[in-house]
Amino acid sequence: MAVNAIELKNVSMRFGKDSKDVVKNVSIKIPENSFVTVLGTSGSGKTTLIKLINRLYEATSGEIFFFGKNIRELNVENYRRQIGYVIQQSGLFPHMTVEQNVAVIPKMLKWDEKRTQSRVDELLKLVRLPPAVFKNRFPSQLSGGQQQRVGIARALAANPSVLLMDEPFGALDAITRQKLQAEILEIQKRFRKTILFVTHDVHEAFKLGERTVIMKGGEIQQYDTPYNILFHPANEFVRRIVSSENFVEKLRVLRASSIVHPSDGIEAPDAPSVNAGDTLLDVLDQFLTTNAAAVLVTDKQGGLLGRITWEQFRLIPGRPDSEIYRGAALRAVKGVRQG
C-alpha cells in the first residue's frame, strides 16, 4: 500500500466564529512521491488548504496527518522545516543575497560551512542559476523567473520530502512559466518529492498534476486524474471549469502517460513512439501522420512503458469516429502547430 505523505480527515476551517467555512469537511490523501495540483477560482479555499497543511492556519475541526503523524502533535517549527514552501511573490528575503537565502534553513540546522556551501551550489545548479554569477546577487537584481528559481532552491535546501507550492508561477510570463513547469516536473521525478501545487490555471493544473483536486466554496468537487476530470467531470461545476478547453486543447494538456496501457509485447518494429511526458496531441499527431495502429510510450531513457492504441481514443466520449473526423483533427493539429 502506498504511504500517504499527507492525509486530511474531515478538515474544516473558518476565520471568525460566525463566518462560514473557508474549507468545508475536506478529506483527501496525497500519496508519497505524487504530484497533486489543486485547481480553483479565487475564494475556493485552495490556498487555505495549503496553509492548513503547514499550519499557517489551524483547522477549526478535523485532523491532518503527515506520514501518519497528527501534525498537531509535532513541534510546529521542526515540522515546517520538513516541508518546502514556495509562494507566488517568491517571499525571498530582500536583504539577503541569493546564497544567504538558500542557506537559511541549513544554517538553522547548524550544518557546517562546507556542507552548506556545497548544498547551495548544488541547488543553484539544479535550478539553472550558475552559482558564480548569482550567489552574491540580491533578489532585487533578479528577474521574476530567477526569483522563483531561488525560491525553489531555498525550499529544497534541507531536502524536504514534501513541497507545498502556492501559485508559484502565477506572476510569470508564459515562456518563463513553461520552462519552470518543465523543470519542477523533472525535479519532482528525479528527487521523488511529494508536491502539492495550487493554481488557478486549468492548463497548468493538468500539465503538472498526476491528479488534480478541483475546489469550489471550500469543498472538493473532484479529486481525480486530469484525464477523468476532462472526460468524466463529476458535476456541472467541473464540467464548466474544463469546458473552455476544446477537444484539441484537452489533448494538448494531457500527458501520454495518462492513458498508457501495458504493452502485450508484440509491437510493430516500425511503430512510432512518444515520450511519457509528451501530450496526447503528440500521440494523435503520430496516428494521423503515420497510420500506425499503436503509438509506443517510452520513458526518458527510452525504456518502453506501454502503448496507446487508436482504439483507446474511441474511449473518449463525444468524439465522432470517422475518416472525416480524422481529416478535421489533422487540420486542427496543424493549425495548433502553426499557431
Binding site: 499557517l56 509562494i87 517568491s90 528575503f93 530582500p94 536583504h95 533578489p139
Partner: protein, 212 residues
C-alpha cells in the same frame, strides 16, 4: 568676520571647549536614551495592536509641540540646568523615531513574513534576522532626522541654563554681537552636517540590497 570668529575661539578656548563638550554630551546622551526608548516603543506599536492607538496618539500630539515650548514647560517641573534640557530634547526626538520604527516594521512585505514562518523559522529568528534588518533603513532615517533636531534644538537649552553652544548664540542675540552668534552657530551647523552624512553612509550600506 570668519577671522574674528576664529580669533574669539582661540582667545576663549576654555569657554568654547566647555560649551562644545556640554553640547555634544547633551545631544549624545539624548540620542542614546531616545533610541533606547523610541525603538522599542515603535516595535510595540507595530506588534501589539492594543498599544498602537494610545502610543501613536501621544506621539503625534508630542510631534506638534515646538521644542522651545517643551523646554519652557520643563522649567516649573524640573527647574533649570542640564536635566530639564535633556528631558525636553528627548521628548522632541521621540516621535519621529517611534513613527519610523513603527512604519519600518509595518511596511515589511507580508509575503516575506509568510514564507519565513512557513519555512519553519522561529519567532526570535524572524525578528532578528528578517524583520529588524528590513525595518532598519527606515529606523535609521528616523534617527537621522531626530539627531539633527536634537543637535539644533540643544542650542535652546541655554535658555534654561543647560549650557552648550547655545550660550554664545543667546549672548550674541542679546548684545547684537554677530561674531558671538557665529561662534555658536557655525560649530552647531558643522556637527549637524557631519552627523547627517555619517548616518547617511551607514544607511546606504544597510539598504544596499534595494538598489538593483
Amino acid at each position: 568676520m570668519i577671522y574674528k570668529v576664529i580669533q574669539y575661539i582661540s582667545t576663549h578656548a576654555d569657554r568654547f571647549t566647555d560649551a562644545l563638550e556640554t553640547h555634544l554630551l547633551l545631544s549624545g546622551i539624548t540620542m542614546v536614551l531616545v533610541i533606547l526608548l523610541a525603538v522599542p516603543l515603535g516595535i510595540l506599536c507595530a506588534k501589539k495592536e492594543s498599544f498602537e492607538a494610545p502610543i501613536m496618539h501621544v506621539v503625534n500630539a508630542l510631534k506638534v509641540l515646538p521644542v522651545l515650548v517643551l523646554i519652557v514647560v520643563m522649567l516649573p517641573l524640573l527647574g533649570v540646568g542640564f536635566l530639564p534640557a535633556l528631558v525636553a530634547l528627548l521628548l522632541q526626538a521621540i516621535p519621529i523615531i517611534v513613527i519610523n520604527t513603527y512604519s519600518g516594521f509595518k511596511n515589511i512585505d507580508p509575503g516575506v513574513l509568510e514564507s519565513a514562518v512557513g519555512m519553519g523559522l522561529s519567532k526570535k529568528t524572524i525578528f532578528w534576522k528578517v524583520e529588524f534588518p528590513l525595518a532598519m533603513p527606515l529606523i535609521l532615517t528616523g534617527i537621522r532626522i531626530g539627531a539633527i533636531d536634537v543637535i539644533a534644538g540643544a542650542m535652546l537649552a541655554s535658555y534654561i541654563g543647560g549650557g552648550g553652544l547655545g550660550d554664545f548664540i543667546v549672548n550674541g542675540i542679546d548684545h547684537s554681537d554677530h561674531v558671538m552668534l557665529m561662534v555658536g552657530s557655525i560649530p552647531i551647523a558643522f556637527i549637524a552636517v557631519v552627523v547627517d552624512i555619517s548616518l547617511a553612509l551607514v544607511q546606504r550600506h544597510l539598504s544596499r540590497y534595494q538598489r538593483s
